[in-house]
């Protein structure tokens, strides 16, 4: 069983023959541990990639492939290592512990902050793979003169595969549910470092380099432990930065911060952190915004859109071939350019902002409406909610007075006017404010799952608008002949209530909106 004694200066080592057998078993036990750790790192990387990037088949497949290949590179590199092999092995254990152990927290945190997350992911997976690939060949070389080759191969691989089995079972059943990815990753990092420490203490021949490596291992263990204790913080930090989906675009323009996110279900646009639409249900909002107005003035040729730089309202307008021209006034060129150029977004708005009928004007809507002299058959007003005093001015009697001057005879205007359920007073304040400026109003609402119950005010200066119920364009998914009647019905919990008018010199709406949402938040 023993071909040759260990080349040790220790006389006590040679004295006890039984010790040698114990050491070999200990080395084999460490094979078991490092095998478990190796597979765990691989599983963590695959799970994390699937979680953050979606498409688990692709992620697992590419991660496993990369990892195995990197292990191959590691095995090949083991050939280049000479000198004290035990020393190399201990060093590598500490490194695997650090790199593998911190892989999950690193990937979580960096996800929000790096340009190319995939580059970081595969670099980390490759590094771990290379280091893990070095372990087994190195260990076999350490044992090669102590154990017969056939026994060596048999034992090492037996422990290796048992470790793998254990890892693959405890990872989904015990570790992820109980510890989570970050703590699992750090725990196995600690195990790797533990193996290094244990080898250093058990093998007298490590004495010349023991102190240095023990210090290194101690520091690595402390780092990993600190991470383990602070894992909650790391996770909350990482998740606070994440919109639960992946951010595929973010940009700060002089006017606002534009963020686009995507997950398996939908694409979302946030302006200053407020959801503007979800691709899963935006058709409900935009069909409800545009078609009642168009049906109320079916011969409309000239249309004005205020706000709505995403081009989604314009997409609905372009279903009416009789429209000759659409003026779209949106403050932010960053926004309209994005929805003219980004292919993901132009496929959503059907390239509406590139239509020859559409003229995009990047200007402040209030000033533009005040100085404009043209008249419009339909005006679509799609401003952000009145959450501050400067937006509140765009919902004032003074603004609606200006708007009234822009309407052609028989012209209609529709205003997005917040939620009549969540912000009931705000909604009716908009209705009353428009009425005070001589508008005959037709309030209505639609259910948009990502927003909730949402309100609109259709209005005209001559008569209460009467949208036709036949002849809605083909291909609509939400508005049909019957829906218009349904949308006009306000159940008691959303019914009209008295409010003040919103004026520049009282800004009643901003107060209502703030209070309504504070109440809704509770």
């Amino acid at each position: 069983m023993v071909d040759q004694p260990l080349r040790s200066e220790s006389e006590r080592g040679r004295a006890v023959a039984g010790n040698e057998a114990a050491r070999q078993w200990l080395l084999l036990l460490s094979v078991f541990v490092i095998a478990t750790c190796g597979l765990i790192y691989e599983l963590i990387a695959g799970t994390l990639a699937s979680y953050l990037l979606g498409d688990s088949v692709t992620q697992f497949s590419t991660i496993i492939g990369t990892y195995l290949f990197a292990m191959g590179v590691g095995s090949w590199l083991s050939n280049k290592l000479d000198g004290n092999l035990l020393r190399w092995f201990v060093r590598i254990e500490i490194l695997v512990g650090l790199v593998g152990g911190f892989s999950a927290p690193l990937l979580f945190v960096l996800f929000e902050y790096v340009v190319s997350f995939r580059l970081v992911l595969y670099t980390l997976v490759s590094m771990t793979g290379v280091l893990v690939g070095l372990e087994i060949p190195l260990l076999m070389r350490i044992l090669e003169h102590r154990v017969a080759f056939r026994d060596l191969v048999s034992r090492v691989f037996t422990f290796d595969y048992i470790g793998a089995l254990l890892a693959s079972l405890i990872f989904p059943l015990v570790l992820v549910p109980m510890l989570g990815l970050v703590r699992t990753s750090l725990l196995f990092g600690l195990l790797n470092v533990g193996v290094a420490v244990w080898l250093l203490l058990r093998f007298p021949e490590t004495r010349p380099f023991r102190t240095g490596l023990l210090t290194a291992a101690g520091m690595a263990a402390m780092l990993l432990l600190a991470g383990f204790v602070g894992a909650e913080r790391i996770m909350s930090f990482a998740e606070a930065a994440t919109y639960q989906s992946s951010v595929i675009y973010s940009k700060s323009t002089p006017y606002q911060r534009i963020v686009l996110t995507r997950n398996a279900r939908d694409l979302r646009l946030f302006l200053n952190g407020n959801l503007q639409f979800s691709s899963a249900d935006e058709y409900r909002y935009h069909e409800a915004l545009v078609h009642p107005a168009m049906q109320a003035n079916p011969t409309a040729r000239r249309v004005l859109v205020l706000g709505g730089g995403d081009g989604l309202a314009v997409r609905e307008l372009l279903r009416y071939p009789q429209i000759d021209s659409i003026q779209l006034v949106d403050l932010d060129p960053g926004m309209t350019r994005l929805f003219q150029e980004n292919t993901l977004l132009t496929s959503l708005n059907k390239r509406s902002l590139l239509s020859p009928k559409v003229q995009v004007i990047n200007d402040d809507a209030y000033g533009w409406v005040r100085s404009d002299t043209a008249h419009y058959d339909v005006v679509i007003v799609d401003f952000p909610d009145p959450s501050n005093y400067s937006i509140g001015k765009l919902y004032s009697t003074a603004f609606y007075r200006e708007l009234a001057r822009r309407l052609a005879p028989g012209g209609v205007v529709v205003v997005q006017s917040t939620s009549p359920f969540l912000a009931r007073r705000s909604f009716w304040c908009v209705v009353h404010t428009m009425q005070a400026e001589g508008f005959q109003t037709l309030p209505y609402h639609a259910y948009v799952p990502s927003f909730g119950e949402w309100g609109f005010v259709l209005a005209s200066l001559t008569d209460t608008p009467r949208p036709r119920t036949r002849n809605v364009p083909a291909g609509l998914r939400f508005i049909d002949a019957n829906s218009l009647r349904r949308l006009r019905d306000f159940p008691p919990d959303m019914a009209d209530i008295p409010t003040e008018l919103n004026k520049l010199n009282n800004q009643a709406l901003v107060q209502y909106f703030e209070e309504d949402w504070a109440d809704a938040g509770q």
């Binding site: 501050n388 005093y389 001015k393 009697t397 004026k503």
Partner: protein, 557 residues
């Protein structure tokens, strides 16, 4: 509620008359130790200028001046000296009365006086007066003027003026920074003891009574124009005591209330309650009886009218309502009444340095009295300016690319910091219809002190960097980090910012004597003749002087 007022009439920039050896504008910026704030801000690196009334003209006036000899051929019906609000108001009134052969002389490149304004890429902004309270509907001339400016758009069936939404101050109007937090309104409210609340309530109730009070003669106790106030001694005797004495008499001891009253005196007159006539101090609160409705018919209470450029808007409207010539950069320096056929005004053209004589049938001096007396040294050596004191002011316009906020009420039009030297700042962008992170903040700072002449002298020796250091030390408490966001910082020093209504001045003799015409040929119009420096008074003084002139005869209308 009670609003800031500021000087609306011109001081014509002739501060140099009383300011040897250094005149404003001569000081050079930079090089001061206090130009560095503790935050490490070096103010001389921040773009901007130290501005003020015309310095070149000031220098020129300090030499010995002989009357000019070159006589210009034209003879005007009226020459108006001074292009502030009272002068522009007189020019408009003459034009409306059909007297159109007039000439206005203005020292600066543009008329406007303390209603001057500036403009940059971010906003227009005031250099002085910046608002007008909705006026008493009985002030017919002013109501007519506001109709011409489009500020009043019509009348209700019962004759109440309807005000333009764009000219009425937008919501939110005012806030106070107290104990680390912005609260709504300017009267200390949140977190102050009950005893103080009770005194404030009692004070406000008393003001309500005074607003409605009428004297034995049936006139309002406190009116605008103030010459329409009651002659009843029950009220006029208030002019003989100081505001501090009045507060003591009434048992108003609350620190918060007394701060608020002191703030109001400083804000309106540039004086402390110790220096202010109690009649004037109360007039600030009790004279605002504006009546009007907004475009939707809602009654306006204590509303004010304001514009990004402040009263520069009203000034330009006044100016545009007459077509008679204005000769700018021209200093009148002597008036000669020896020629019975025409008053001779010696003038100096600042750019060319040439002196000429301009002849007129009548001359209207729309300048402060210390300037008027200088012009009349030979013609009427008996005139004095005893009792006329003027408060110096500093106005800072900061262009910022962000405004770091502290807790509480959001940015308002008028923003006041409790317990500071300044009387706060207005956001010039407030009346804009679109928000922008870039703003212009106009900070007002009256320079109070026991000896205004000494304070003025010190002010002329203060560098822009020192003014900015003082201003930002205060502002940083409410806007930490603001210094780093300043893109431009201009400072304007008004040596004779506004007339001070010191005790005895409003209802004493000096005011009445100073407005008496000289030989029915030289007339006077300036807000210092009212004793308080507000737009309404300057506007009325111009009209009063013209009416007196036309009654005096000699001009065909």
């Amino acid at each position: 509620m009670n609003r800031r007022r500021f000087i609306q009439t011109t001081a014509l920039g002739l501060t140099a008359f009383t300011v040897p050896p250094l005149v404003p504008g001569c000081t050079t910026a930079g090089g001061s130790d206090s130009g560095t704030l503790s935050t490490g801000q070096n103010w001389s690196n921040v773009p901007g200028n130290l501005l003020g009334p015309n310095a070149k003209a000031g220098h020129w006036l300090r030499q010995t001046l002989a009357p000019a000899t070159a006589v210009e051929p034209d003879i005007y019906d009226v020459v108006i000296v001074g292009g502030g609000i009272s002068g522009l108001s007189a020019r408009r009134w003459l034009w409306q009365k059909g007297v159109r052969n007039t000439l206005m002389l203005e020292l600066e490149t543009q008329p406007g006086g303390n209603s001057g304004s500036g403009k940059n890429d971010v906003s227009a902004f005031p250099w002085g007066a910046h608002y007008l309270p909705v006026p008493d509907a009985r002030h017919a001339e002013l109501i007519d003027f506001l109709r011409e400016t489009g500020t009043i758009t019509g009348c209700t069936a019962n004759g109440t003026p309807i005000y333009n939404d764009y000219h009425l101050c937008h919501d939110p109007e005012e806030r106070l920074f107290l104990d680390g937090r912005w609260q709504d309104g300017l009267i200390p409210n949140e977190g102050i003891p009950d005893a103080d609340h009770q005194q404030i309530t009692r004070f406000l109730a008393l003001i309500e009574t005074l607003k409605k009070a009428k004297g034995a003669d049936g006139r309002d106790a406190f009116a605008i124009p103030l010459d329409r106030s009651s002659t009843d001694p029950a009220y006029r005797l208030l002019d003989t005591i100081t505001m501090t004495e009045w507060l003591d008499q009434q048992g108003f001891t609350s620190t918060y209330l007394r701060w608020y009253v002191a703030y109001s005196c400083k804000d309106d007159y540039g004086t402390t309650p110790n220096q202010t006539s109690a009649w004037a101090g109360l007039h600030y609160f009790a004279s605002r009886k504006g009546v009007g409705v907004d475009a939707n018919g809602a009654t306006l209470t204590s509303a004010v009218l304001t514009w990004p450029e402040g009263n520069g808007f009203l000034m330009n409207q006044l100016r545009q309502q007459a077509d008679s010539p204005i000769r700018s950069q021209t200093i009148a320096y002597a008036i000669d009444l020896a020629d019975p056929s025409a008053v001779r005004v010696s003038v100096n053209n600042v750019p060319t340095g040439k002196q000429t004589v301009i002849r007129a049938r009548k001359v209207l001096l729309a300048v402060p009295q210390f300037v008027a007396n200088r012009l009349l040294t030979t013609a009427d050596p008996t005139r004095t300016a005893t009792g006329f004191h003027y408060a110096p002011w500093v106005v800072v316009n900061l262009t910022v690319n962000a405004l770091p906020q502290t807790a509480g009420k959001t940015l308002c039009w008028d923003n006041v910091l409790y317990g500071t030297e300044s009387v706060g700042y207005v956001s010039a962008n407030h009346q804009h219809l679109t928000d922008s992170p870039q703003r212009v903040l106009t900070i007002y700072r009256p320079l109070t002190g026991n000896d205004p002449a000494e304070v003025r002298r010190r002010a002329y020796h203060t560098t822009r960097e020192e003014w900015l250091h003082q201003t930002m030390t205060e502002l940083e408490t409410a806007h930490p980090g603001l210094s780093a966001h300043i893109q431009q910082a201009d400072v304007w020093v008004w040596g004779h910012g506004m007339i001070s209504p010191t005790p005895g001045f409003i209802w004493g003799e000096a005011r009445q004597k100073a407005r008496q015409p000289v030989q029915a040929r030289v007339y006077f119009a300036h807000s210092d003749l009212s004793g308080i420096s507000i737009f309404e008074e300057a506007f009325s003084q111009g009209i009063r002087a013209v009416n007196a002139m036309l009654t005096g005869g000699g001009i065909a209308t």
